[in-house]
């Protein structure tokens, strides 16, 4: 069926809840309202209030309770209404979800998905445009997954729900309703920790994730070079093999992310490329990122957000090095 990302995520949630009675959803406005973006629409009617839980307004509580549920046989999917409010859950996620497996040498595990909309480019109120994925990706024990299309969202969310470890699932708000594509009605599963080569090429590798992918594609379509495009999909654990295989052939790499530059994942990716393929590189790894500033309110957002021209310029700098 043709679906946008909202519908695809809804379909994945529904399917996993049908399949596994231990899957529950909890969060603010996820039930009666069907979620502020309608991600959980219809699920309360189908599965009832015991499995689709409208919670008090409390992110520390939601994440902590979800961890407890996971410790006692449930598979909770907890929603943070926006990434900017998920920091209240960091204590639970970093100090408990991420560590429980190691702390108990595998006796207690936390099969939890913490879902949230993230990213800018939607001209929203303050704290609704966050892209702090690096914050989560630095925590050993957490997985960080970002879909870029409806099909990807269905496959990756299904895998995240079935994963034995805590997954932070970041949904690019800007992509929620941007595009429709064919998504299979039945089960559709993608592996976590595996990047996707979107397009093959020989001259340069451009990589990104989430809402950057359509922008990258537009930019790539406008340059003459033969470009390999990679959608990282899982930011942690990162599939560096696919990246290295590619840059060893192309010798040039551009990383695009909408998070600020300093300590953004571009730095991590560049370091791994240098560690694994320095002798193959024809140019420094180029980072096309947001500047190191607070995301401006809507009237100033264009000074912040990545655009096609920035990606094209990044590619040109790399090609002309």
């Amino acid at each position: 069926m043709m679906m946008n990302m909202v519908q695809a995520i809804n379909a994945a949630l529904r399917m996993e809840m049908e399949r596994d009675p231990s899957v529950v959803i909890l969060g603010e406005d996820v039930g009666v309202d069907g979620g502020v973006f309608r991600l959980t629409e219809g699920l309360l009617d189908r599965f009832g209030a015991d499995r689709v839980i409208d919670t008090p307004l409390a992110e520390a509580g939601i994440s902590g309770v979800a961890i407890g549920m996971a410790m006692n046989g449930l598979r909770p999917i907890a929603e943070m209404q926006f990434m900017g409010f998920s920091y209240l859950a960091l204590n639970q996620m970093i100090n408990h979800a991420a560590r429980m497996r190691n702390r108990t040498r595998g006796r207690i595990t936390i099969p939890l998905v913490l879902r949230m909309p993230y990213g800018a480019g939607i001209k929203a109120l303050e704290h609704h445009s966050e892209s702090t994925e690096a914050l989560y990706a630095q925590i050993p024990g957490l997985k960080v997954v970002v879909p870029s299309t409806p099909l990807e969202a269905k496959g990756l969310l299904t895998a995240s729900i079935r994963d034995p470890d805590p997954v932070v699932f970041l949904e690019p708000t800007r992509s929620y309703r941007m595009l429709k594509e064919e998504v299979p009605d039945g089960e559709y599963l993608l592996p976590l920790g595996k990047a996707r080569v979107v397009q093959e090429g020989d001259d340069i590798t451009v990589l990104g994730w989430g809402a950057m992918m359509p922008l990258i594609q537009k930019a790539v379509d406008k340059v003459k070079a033969s470009v390999e495009v990679i959608d990282l999909r899982t930011l942690s654990p990162m599939d560096i093999e696919t990246v290295l295989d590619s840059v060893k052939r192309t010798g040039r790499a551009v990383v695009v992310h909408e998070a600020p530059r300093t300590c953004g994942l571009g730095a991590e990716i560049a370091a791994r490329i240098y560690e694994g393929a320095i002798l193959n590189m024809e140019a420094p790894v180029e980072r096309v990122t947001a500047p190191d500033i607070t995301i401006p309110l809507p009237k100033g957002e264009d000074h912040y957000y990545i655009n096609e021209r920035m990606i094209i310029e990044g590619m040109e700098r790399t090609m002309n090095f």
């Binding site: 603010e28 008090p56 001209k123």
Partner: protein, 353 residues
């Protein structure tokens, strides 16, 4: 003491004026005619400016906007109890309180248009900018009050927040600090029955939110939030208590959010028209107008509305005339001094770093 007479643990609620604008003289606070008219004008301005904001959003001139229709008395009543120099902290749905405090309407519109200059208030206004992460302003209010207390200033700090906010850890931590340090705080919880779609009952099993104060060791009071006199009376007592060094008070304003959560929301998904209509009858503005007319304080509402509409048109024009932020504007306030790498990121030119 009203807080002794109206015990939230017994479910008692302070109400001074009924739906017909008839007041209980024994509870009626003292207010000059001048103050009454100023309050009424601010309430009309808030109502009309709020409606205008919703319209501007529909025209694409404003971003998502949280309407305060129905909560005007709940916001303006407490602000009326403050003196010059007192602090006021808000979340995002408190236009009435800000207008009373003298924040220009054009500044508020500018904020909702998505310009940081909309958070720049007149020097010395002692109003903090909008806080979106729910409840996170509550500890700030305690810190501000603590600082005043430390300097032995007779300054009171009032913070607004919603019923949803009482579920966050920062509500508990803030009020607990306030109780422990006996800070000069007034906490105004606007219980408008909803946090987006989530009903008040889902936030807490406590029969009232006001009674939560008991566990922090200070008084709480449940107040009819659509009754400007009740809100003022409760706040006045709380402000006086704080100013005398007797510590904080929690006021639960029992009110109703007549509009959507924000312009991105649709209340029809989670409540009935009948429910909304019940609250329409308790409208704080018409109740206040009925009283003022019966007392002969107000004669021509239409005149005030006309005047306020003009104020609003001017505010919109002023806000629209402000240019969008430049690249420099969005960079230069990151630190007191811009690091060299940030200068390069800002451009134009400079050594890559």
């Amino acid at each position: 003491m009203l807080t002794d007479e109206f015990d939230p643990l017994k479910g008692e609620m302070l109400c001074v004026m009924d739906e017909e604008g008839i007041v209980d003289r024994s509870l009626m606070p003292k207010l000059s005619n001048e103050m009454l008219i100023k309050a009424y004008r601010t309430m009309v301005l808030t109502r009309l400016a709020d409606d205008k904001a919703v319209k501007l959003q529909r025209q694409g001139k404003l971003g998502a906007y949280p309407p305060s229709r129905g909560q005007e008395a709940s916001q303006i009543g407490p602000a009326m109890a403050l003196k010059e120099g007192d602090w006021l902290l808000w979340a995002f749905r408190e236009m009435g309180g800000l207008l009373w405090k003298g924040i220009p309407l054009s500044t508020l519109y500018l904020f909702w248009m998505g310009n940081e200059l909309g958070s720049v208030y007149p020097e010395g206004s002692n109003v903090t900018p909008s806080v979106v992460p729910v409840a996170s302003q509550i500890p700030h209010a305690v810190g501000i009050a603590y600082a005043s207390k430390l300097r032995k200033e007779k300054i009171v700090t009032l913070a607004y927040f919603g019923d949803g906010a009482t579920s966050e850890g920062e509500f508990h931590e803030g009020l607990n600090f306030a109780g422990v340090f006996k800070t000069p705080n007034v906490f105004v919880c606007q219980n408008n029955q909803f946090a987006i779609s989530t009903r008040r009952e889902r936030q807490s099993a406590s029969p009232t939110l006001a009674q939560k104060a008991v566990s922090y060791g200070f008084p709480g009071i449940l107040v009819d939030g659509n009754d400007i006199f009740a809100m003022f009376a409760a706040a006045k007592e709380a402000v006086d208590r704080a100013r005398k060094g007797k510590g904080p008070t929690l006021i639960e304003s029992y009110t109703y959010r007549m509009g959507d959560h924000t312009t991105s929301d649709d209340w029809r998904k989670y409540r009935t028209k009948e429910e909304v209509e019940t609250w329409q009858r308790k409208d704080p503005l018409s109740r206040f107008a009925k009283y003022l007319k019966a007392e002969g304080v107000l004669s021509d509402e239409g005149e005030i509305e006309k005047e306020m509409s003009k104020v609003i048109e001017e505010a919109v024009a002023a806000a629209e005339a402000v240019p969008a932020p430049t690249r420099k504007d969005v960079f230069e306030h990151t630190y007191a001094e811009m690091p060299p790498y940030l200068k390069w990121q800002m451009g134009p030119g400079g050594e890559r770093q």
